[in-house]
């Protein structure tokens, strides 16, 4: 009985670890009007499109932040609600990072069958964004944990 309980705990732990999945793919930088179709898929969730914006800064002000960003469109084609995280890292031809960041689900889940967009800002490292040659996209997914069924109430047996 004790062994079975330990086995159950180990199994539950292992399944919770397996529930998080990550996929990474590399692409050549080839956007048209800032938009590039991609396909990065994990757990039937797909990063399908990236919309890059090289942004700009407020010149002649002391603010150094840029409005550079990428908007990732994500489709949940599966049957389970998912937490989603997306990292986009852009490189120049020498392998220097010219933009990097992450975005994803802030609240709740990307529901099954739904589509959403996530903005990834590049406010601080942007000055050589126009030298982009390749980029990596990582998609992290974690499925919504199933509802725990309440334990059945004990059946009262009549006392003899």
């Amino acid at each position: 009985m004790r062994k079975a309980a330990v086995g159950f705990v180990v199994l539950a732990w292992a399944s919770s670890m397996l529930a998080a999945e990550a996929v990474t793919q590399k692409f050549d930088w080839n956007p048209v009007n800032g938009i590039q179709e991609v396909h990065v898929e994990g757990s039937r969730v797909v990063v399908a499109q990236l919309k890059f914006d090289l942004g700009g800064t407020l010149s002649s002000t002391p603010i150094r932040r840029s409005s550079a960003k990428v908007v990732a469109r994500v489709d949940n084609n599966g049957w389970l609600d998912q937490e989603v995280g997306i990292a986009v890292v852009v490189f120049d031809e020498e392998g220097n990072v010219v933009a990097a960041g992450s975005g994803g689900t802030k609240w709740g889940y990307l529901n099954k069958g739904d589509r959403d967009t996530y903005t990834i800002d590049f406010p601080y490292l942007y000055r050589r964004f126009d030298h982009a040659k390749t980029f990596l996209v990582t998609l992290e997914t974690k499925e919504k944990a199933g509802k725990q069924k309440p334990a059945p109430k004990p059946t009262l047996t009549p006392s003899p």
């Binding site: 995280g85 990072v97 933009a99 992450s102 994803g104 490292l125 000055r127 990582t138």
Partner: protein
């Protein structure tokens, strides 16, 4: 004379991007008590230390963002004020990204001789940060223009 002016203008336009310096370093992930000494230098600005503050779980309740972050220390050892940008990207042993972000100067400049730290959030891709094996740091610098 007109040709010389045009040449001068073209020259200054070509020279403008050179103000922005850049350096990248790749490191094994080997922090001690969460911190690791590194060296990435551009225009006498040095990223000299990185502190990792990782959580592999999301926030409480329905909040999915993590409080994971790295804190990067930059020293301006030069004689010119600089605006800086720093990117940190962490990889697992297979080359998958397990964390990525950027930080740097919000307002003004990192003054000559000064030291500052930048916090880089890794709020949305964080679930595999405990599998980090290597990381890349890119430092971007831009001199304060002479008025």
């Amino acid at each position: 004379m007109a040709n010389r002016k045009i040449l001068c203008l073209v020259g200054s336009l070509l020279a403008a991007p050179l103000w922005a310096g850049q350096a990248t370093g790749k490191f094994e992930y080997k922090p001690v008590n969460g911190g690791q000494d590194i060296r990435v230098e551009s225009d006498h600005v040095v990223v000299s230390r990185i502190d990792f503050k990782f959580e592999t779980t999301s926030g409480t309740g329905p909040i999915r963002g993590s409080s994971s972050s790295v804190e990067v220390r930059a020293d301006n050892n030069g004689g010119v004020d600089q605006a800086i940008g720093i990117a940190v990207v962490l990889y697992d042993e297979h080359g998958n990204i397990v964390g990525a972000g950027n930080g740097g100067t919000h307002v003004g400049w990192l003054s000559k001789g000064e030291r500052d730290t930048s916090k880089i959030s890794m709020s949305y891709v964080f679930r595999n940060l405990d599998k980090a094996k290597t990381f890349v740091v890119t430092l971007e610098t831009r001199e304060k223009p002479k008025s």
